[in-house]
């Protein structure tokens, strides 16, 4: 083996292996059952938060609204929109839960890496 690979080759191979591991590590550590909050502002996905990993509640500001991030839950805490429908959605706690603030053009949805939802969509 020593004859086939020079020292430099081995260093490159080890570096490549470490790089691959680093790239896939976050994905591998994310459990299938983890709840992920996806936050969209103006149609763009701006934040993804693993709610299952939240140890202490905190707030984040998005387009004219404040989201409360808790362990296993996300909710609109307040917003500057006139109707406050978004706040009325309450806490999103399971995969498929979605809340929106139409005047502020924001949507928050909760997903799982592997969803076990029995339905694809809801008509309303």
């Amino acid at each position: 083996m020593k004859h086939f690979f020079k020292k430099g080759d081995i260093i490159i191979i080890v570096c490549a292996a470490v790089l691959c591991a680093l790239l896939f590590l976050p994905r591998a550590l994310q459990k299938d059952g983890d709840l992920i909050a996806k936050i969209y502002e103006n149609g763009e996905l701006t934040k993804e938060i693993n709610l299952s990993c939240v140890t202490e509640s905190y707030e984040i500001k998005i387009n004219g609204a404040v989201l409360l991030i808790e362990n296993g839950a996300v909710s609109y805490k307040e917003a500057d929109c006139p109707d406050k429908t978004c706040v009325g959605f309450g806490a999103l706690t399971k995969a498929g839960d979605t809340a929106s603030c139409v005047p502020n053009r924001t949507v928050v949805t909760v997903t799982k890496k592997k969803s076990n939802s029995k339905i694809d969509i809801i008509t309303y």
Partner: protein, 350 residues
Amino acid sequence: MAMKNEKAKKAAVAVCVLSAVFVVAFLVMADIFHKPLRETDKYSVAMGTVITQRLFSRSDAAKECDDIDEIINSLENKISWRKEGSPIYSLNKNNTAGCDEELSDIFSRSRAVYDASSGAFDITVGRLTTLWNIGEETASVPDENEIASALSFVDGSKIDVSDGAVTSESGQLVDLGAVGKGLACDKVREYLEKTDISRAVISVGGSVLLYGENDKAEKWSVGVRDPRGESDEYMGVLSVSDCCVSTSGDYERVLQKDGKTYHHILDPKTGYPSDSGLISVTVVSSSGFMSDALSTACFVLGREKGEKLLSLFDAEGLFIDSEKNVCVTLGLKDFFTLTSDKYVLSGDAQ
């Protein structure tokens, strides 16, 4: 000896290279033939509601999601009476506007549903909807005189399309809100047909386009919102594919005044929120425009007349009355499963 070593080394390198080629080829084939379809999701806001996109394809479909958003925004700019510069805005302001083939088709199909529903579906309800303004901050219960005055402008038969122009009667306000979301579904389908995407589900504020089958090559499972439950609760599941599904319900936008609840689906004949005994109607059709228009018309007409209307347009439906009885048309019966014990499935639909 050195020669022998050199040969062995070359052979080992060749074996390594060949093995690598086989492994790469296997992984590529496995990726193409066995990898589950990749899902690209997007959530955005347009037409005053939430747009949910779930596209399934072999590769990332972010561009297609963005294109779909653009298509819906562009449609909104064309058909919304609120958008300054839109043909509908001009029509409401000047009682005449330029009308291309697409708009002409929208007016023509609107007239067909207006005639078949004896005016239960009417795009000239604009005066009434702006008077009530249900769902907006300025919503209020109008008095009888105001309603009578607004009603005098409601008459879908006065809309005329000819020579590339549409005209209405003085004072009339056209509101395509009852078909906008369904139209968006149709436009998205036209776009998807030009792409490599074979499976997708798009929800435009609850009007749903089911494009192809789902990612498991089965019919899509569409939950029908529980009209007396939370926004994420459904009372039954429809198993359908390659179609559009729209629902009209009395829970979507409401005004509460003096202990009374007023919903947003107005009866063009009375000027008041429809009181047909139904609390929700879901319509399945090959056309998004039709599913959207017919769900509104059926909600206003009630179950019996609604069923007859659906049969005229080759559509199927699910009716829920205020007693929580659920009635499903014959063509949809085998594709609906009641999942909530709060509702009773009745078996007398035709």
